[in-house]
């Protein structure tokens, strides 16, 4: 356990807490980390509803990716001093399903995730990303408060 931990980060306070916890556990267990950020972009269907043009979609996507890069840069600075191996990955799509895909692809032994991210009201109504991940992951999930 804790040999290869995946930590999804979205830039929220709880996601940084999850990263700290995962870093400490990986140190104790001589494990590696996979830090993942999922970029949520608008879909063509949403665009259709909003009657916007394709250009706006591209601009939006570029901005979100830029933000994502910034989140991962922050993660990198927080991981300074860590002695194990760390991979940083960025994916585009639905957070919960992308996290589950990445966990399988990277064959992680566990997932450490913050209980509440940046989803706010939507999370409150539809269930949080962390509970979706905990329900469907094939590996143990540590939910950090």
């Amino acid at each position: 356990m804790f040999k290869k931990i995946m930590v999804p980060v979205d830039g929220s306070v709880t996601s940084w807490k999850a990263l700290e916890k995962a870093k400490a556990l990986a140190e104790l267990c001589h494990g590696d980390l996979v830090v993942a950020h999922v970029v949520l972009t608008y879909s063509n269907a949403e665009l259709y509803v909003q009657e916007a043009g394709g250009d706006i979609l591209d601009v939006e996507r570029t901005t979100m990716k830029k933000l994502g890069t910034h989140v991962l840069d922050t993660a990198k600075s927080k991981m300074e001093g860590f002695s194990g191996k760390v991979e940083y990955v960025m994916e585009v799509g639905q957070p919960a399903s992308q996290i589950l895909n990445l966990a399988e692809k990277h064959e992680v032994t566990d997932i450490v995730i913050g209980c509440r991210g940046l989803g706010g009201i939507e999370e409150f109504l539809l269930g949080s990303v962390s509970s979706k991940v905990a329900q469907h992951a094939k590996v143990p999930v540590l939910i950090v408060k």
């Binding site: 356990m1 556990l25 269930g127 509970s131 905990a134 992951a137 540590l142 939910i143 408060k145």
Partner: protein, 150 residues
């Protein structure tokens, strides 16, 4: 972390897996364990709806407490090779509420719980005890997964 772990067990295979995981973590991190079984009794309101009598309620609840003792005995057996400190607690009430209450009272630093307990379809519809616990717990919750059926 994992210095004082709470593990709720309901007798399901998933809860035994959680107990094994918690035992491993407590051994590794030099922690102590609190094994909790929550007896979900029938309330007077349930009884009113089902048209039963007070007598059947009492005997039903006695039966459930008896099952609870058996669950904790099994837990004790499974913990026999654990060298750290361990306590076994039985509580009566609503499962996820009690788990969170005990976590606060005992000031544990983590909870290790099976992703799915004995409630089956009801869990599917209403959300699992583990997700209720992870939402309301004051401390980190490790959700242990069901062994792959295949």
């Amino acid at each position: 972390m994992f210095k004082k772990i709470l593990v709720p067990v309901d007798g399901s295979s998933n809860s035994w897996k959680a107990l094994d995981t918690a035992k491993g973590l407590a051994s590794k991190f030099g922690g102590e364990l609190i094994v909790l079984h929550v007896v979900q009794t029938y309330s007077s309101a349930n009884l009113y709806l089902s048209g039963g009598s007070d007598i059947s309620l009492t005997s039903e609840n006695r039966q459930l407490s008896h099952i609870g003792s058996r669950v904790l005995e099994t837990a004790r057996d499974r913990m026999s090779d654990f060298h750290g400190r361990v306590r076994f607690i039985m509580e009566v009430g609503h499962a996820s509420d009690k788990v969170v209450d005990v976590a606060r009272e005992e000031e544990v630093d983590s909870i290790v719980i099976g992703s799915r307990g004995l409630r089956g379809v009801k869990e599917f519809l209403l959300g699992s005890v583990s997700s209720e616990v992870s939402q309301h717990s004051p401390v980190p919750v490790l959700i242990v997964k069901e062994p792959d059926p295949g």
